[in-house]
Amino acid sequence: MWKQENAEVLEVERLLDEVFRIRFRADRIARDAAPGQFVHVLCSHHHSPFLRRPFSINRLDEDELSVLFKVVGEGTRLLSRVTPGQTLNLLGPAGRGFPVNVSGAHVVLVAGGMGVAPMPALAHRLLAGGNRVTAIIGARNARYVFEADHIAQCGAEVLVCTDDGSAGARRSATSMYRSLPDKGDIAYACGPLPMLYEMKQCVVTPLWLSLETRIGCGTGLCLGCAQPSGYTEDGQVVYRKVCTDGPVFHASEVILLEH
């Protein structure tokens, strides 16, 4: 069950002009949080932007958690300007994360762009659970490769690839996955929709995807975050809520359209 907490900002790291990591002290939320869940952040003191902004839990500690985000609009712009000592109202842990009660398995993580955000907490938890982890991190170019070292230090095998070859192989995360000699027992993916779509096409093992849609309440109140998940007998589309049924879904639970 999610909680609401006025979390103290402990650290604001600027990784790139427009990419930041914020570390919060948020014991009530961190205590129950699982990798793949998100925190719903109140970015505005006033009433604009009106809604909260959802961010995957990036790193996780007993009483601390961090978010890794890119500035794309007003909410993230305001978030990028917070300073240590300030408190922000967080709501979380929200949603359903990746299945982490596996053990003795070989898990392949596939991240595209900012989709790498949840991977550190996820890799850490899976390794602690006695699994073998291979993490594929795809990015535009070397500057946009985040968390590779951190995840490697946790004990995962990290494979980096970029669109321009400025870091790792010059290929996409999915083609990198396809080229794996050992595809492991299960795959977890987070990234842009086209990448998730491709993954769904090519993956043979069980596959879990972390989806993004516009989130309203983040707590199941508004039905604003519908994700097509199937059809009724008479062909009507049935939806699932990304904020509570997701954001992580089994590939078979969601209908993804080619983009």
Binding site: F50, C217, L221, C222, L223, G224, C225, V237
Partner: protein, 336 residues
Amino acid sequence: MSIDLTTTLGPLTLCSPVIAASGTFGYGTETGTEVDLRRIGAVCVKGLTLLPRYGNPPPRLIETPCGIMNSVGLENPGIDRFIEEVLPRIPPSLKVIVNIAGATLEDYVTLAAKASIPRVSALEVNVSCPNVKSQCLAWGLDPTATFELTRAVKASTHLPVIVKLTPNAPDVVKVALAAEQGGADIISLVNTFLALSIDVERRRPVFSNTFAGLSGPAIMPIALRMVWQVAGAVGVPVIGMGGILTARDALQFLMAGASAVAVGSANLRDPAAIPAIVNGIEEFMEREAVSHVSELVGAARPEGPSNRGAGQAESRRRTGHCPENESADALFQSRA
């Protein structure tokens, strides 16, 4: 000093004057122990239809300046599954108002009958739905349709009937009077404002249905004006809503003549918004030495406060405002 928040809306009595607006607080089962439900006057559940509805394709919700637009499409499990599966899970401490939406008069009558069970405290008739009979024009746009609908629903339930008006009606006051004549025990307003957003990159409307409903702080000044007008015209108690985010906002609606308020979009920003608003109202009452919330109802009106909840609201009907003030754009109005 003892503060009394008990709110009487004709036949309906609430522990607090702040209600969770339909479609913005789920079924009261989603917030667990994190939100103090004892502060909430009642939860008005997401609009229910006879058959289950799966709702509209995404996007269903976007942000606008200080507001949100939604086109959820009344996704709901249908009245039967609601009663069997959902209702029992609603915390007993929480009063339940069932919001019903139909396409035909018969739909509403059946819905009203099915919902008339002990656990339900009142019915809210959402008249913002397309009336199949009149080429899909919404019931609430037309006084006559609203009158007939209200009368039919009223005849098929013993529960207090709330008629929820749409701000898109040509004449909201006329529709309100029609609902009152039809037997409405309570009038609530406003529902969302019909609005449009265009995706300039794709050169097409953002929502699959072209239009969607606008709500939130952005529209509060218009909603407040409509509540003032309706409260000045009808004798039954009014539930005011539209953009309420703070206790100050809620107080404006009460002082405009609403006997209670409902909070919608603000729940999406903060699921604990309502308890915070109720606390703020309490603090204001302490500061201003107001012992009963009903003393604030209509306090900003020329004729002063009157406890409409307890039904002594005749004064309200006699209210005569200068039509200039009420009907013309404020632009042209110079003080006499």
